[in-house]
Symmetry: C2
Subunit: 359 residues, 2 copies
């Protein structure tokens, strides 16, 4: 049976509508106790990887690894790809956390930071010695996105640095040019509508070479989840550790569903639903989008300034079975966040704006 | 519906027989998309922790954290608890891997190593400067256990070193004296009969103090999964990252089931089933236990020398729906491994020995 509510929290979010059926099949097929060293597991891993390549247009010079979370990928990225200096575009709690991870790993990160609700409409100047530029393409805390044009410009002005993209709360929506970035990662409990507990890390050959060069200099790049360790296993569709087998299985199935639905259609629908909600917020008597600049408004995590009306609006939505996300951190009581992921249908969004209009 | 086979592989192993029902309830209650920052999640975390404390007799000076795997706990243990020197009891592939993790993290580990099928019947001499003694209490690759008396002796002769126990494939069976060890960890896909993708790390106050002392010396102890970071969240039944919420929920439910079944009964049943299989192997015309020394024979992972008969025995077992684990590594074609976990009933083991007798 489906959960009768519509969960608009930006993660964990509403399950993709096919997940419960896939779970039933998983039990029928013994997936929850399947050995990660079995032939069948390698088939599942391959299906997930091939499906993601097809869905997102990920080229052959990229390699796909599984981790416990996207937080882990922050750490593994810094550990494997930075000898001394990373540079971080910071505009919210999660991009800031990525920066702090580099500090905690005793690297020497630098950053450009803007206030909440602001972002990067043009590409910032990056110090020349930087080895890695960390871009949180969608800041889940504030609903600010980094436009793809800015990523293009960063590549042009920094041909050598590794461009690492945190796309945790935006994929599968953004149509990245994988030829100009070097690593993209996400976790499955957001746009893919899956139970939490799995991160997906995509790295290109330049990342592998960088990790190997650190290793050859005697720098520790971790143990079981170093890039070379992951790569040695990934070429055989294996993992170094016993992974979240069930999570990888469910991912493979939902990715196949998304491929069938069509990435072009998913992107068009995402834009339609986002336009619907931003339009509603723009003309609303006492609500407005938190992010002013239209170029920086996220299509996948839409944040509304709700001020003193937050509780009333929440109650009105919940009365119709819709659960918005609280504002993040200090904005907990003055903002609401709405995820716009593939599992959120046009009808969900129409009901949402209809209810907001009538509050 | 239950999977009709009996999975004797030592991990991932047969699911605990209540897991599928718990999964149905989880979907009904919205657990797969539950926010890890919700009140309900803290209740689930607390239930899992309180249940494990009761089941295993873990005292109040221990703190329980969740990780992606036990492989992660190898790394976090070394990273957080060792400045320079760890010492490893090595008698198989997994204890060796723990040692190698310390090498990969640029520490200076030392070891005492014995051959496959051998173990430590008395406590080895440990260099005096060692900060951490790593004991793989049950070596999944060979079916050799470290007797609890040896752990007691190691404590007596090494009052200062942290005693860290890998109990991945033995818990909940061993009745550890938590007052003399400092950290115990396991993953859920073995003795607890759960889907893989979750490690449980138990550390005492001495471990917290050690991690904090490394941090105060400017040594990196990692980022989101450092002991101080985990502890700050754990006191509020929270996790630093978005964790495997569904896995933690299922753990809380299976632990409650095991508490109801009774730990005394679980231990007695484990010993009965182990005695049954070892007895069968000892008197079998062409099979024998791989581990000669009775004191070192694991009760929870029983390895049989099957030599040239491996395939024939496997076929005979599979014909009755029983799936043994292959031998590990080089012994893949000459040994079989049998998990003896709480989900494996006396009836399963009676059918197993009955079938082995008639081969």
């Amino acid at each position: 049976m489906m959960n009768p509510v519509i969960n608009f929290t930006p993660g964990p979010s509403q399950l993709y509508f096919t997940v419960e059926d896939h779970m039933k099949v998983a039990f029928r097929e013994g997936i929850p106790s399947l050995s990660h060293r079995s032939k069948k597991f390698t088939t599942i891993y391959k299906e997930a990887v091939d499906g993601l390549r097809e869905l997102l247009g990920v080229p052959a010079n990229y390699h796909l690894y599984f981790t416990g979370s996207a937080s882990e990928i922050w750490e593994r990225s810094i550990q494997n790809l930075v000898e001394k200096n990373s540079f971080h575009l910071v505009n919210g709690s999660f991009s800031k956390r990525f920066f702090e991870v580099a500090q905690q790993l005793s690297k020497n990160p630098s950053k450009i930071e803007v206030g909440a609700g602001l972002g990067f409409e043009t590409s910032p100047l990056v110090p020349s010695e930087v080895e890695l530029i960390a871009i949180t393409q969608n800041e889940t805390s504030t609903g600010v996105c980094v436009p793809l044009a800015v990523i293009n410009d960063l590549r042009k002005t920094n041909p050598e640095a590794l461009l690492v993209i945190d796309a945790v709360s935006s994929l599968p929506y953004p149509d990245f040019n994988y030829d100009i970035v070097d690593s993209v990662f996400f976790s499955v409990q957001k746009g893919f509508g899956l139970p939490a507990g799995l991160g997906v890390w995509m790295v290109n050959d330049r990342c592998i070479a960088k990790a190997e060069s650190l290793l050859s200099k005697g720098i520790s790049i971790g143990s079981y989840h170093s890039i070379p360790g992951l790569q040695t296993h990934a070429i055989n569709y294996q993992t170094p550790e016993t992974p979240n087998v069930l999570g990888i299985y469910l991912l493979s199935k939902v990715v196949a569903d998304l491929v069938r639905h069509g990435i072009h259609r998913i992107r068009k629908e995402t834009e339609y639903k986002a336009a619907l909600l931003y339009h509603n917020l723009n003309k609303h008597p006492y609500l407005k989008p938190f992010v002013d600049n239209e170029n920086l408004q996220s299509k996948t995590v839409i944040v509304a300034d709700t001020g003193e009306h937050t509780e009333k609006i929440t109650r009105a939505l919940q009365a119709k079975g819709m659960y918005p996300g609280d504002g993040y951190g200090a904005s907990k009581k003055s903002q609401l966040r709405f995820a716009n992921f593939p599992t959120h249908s046009k009808e969900h969004f129409e009901l949402l704006v209809d209810t907001l209009e009538k509050v």
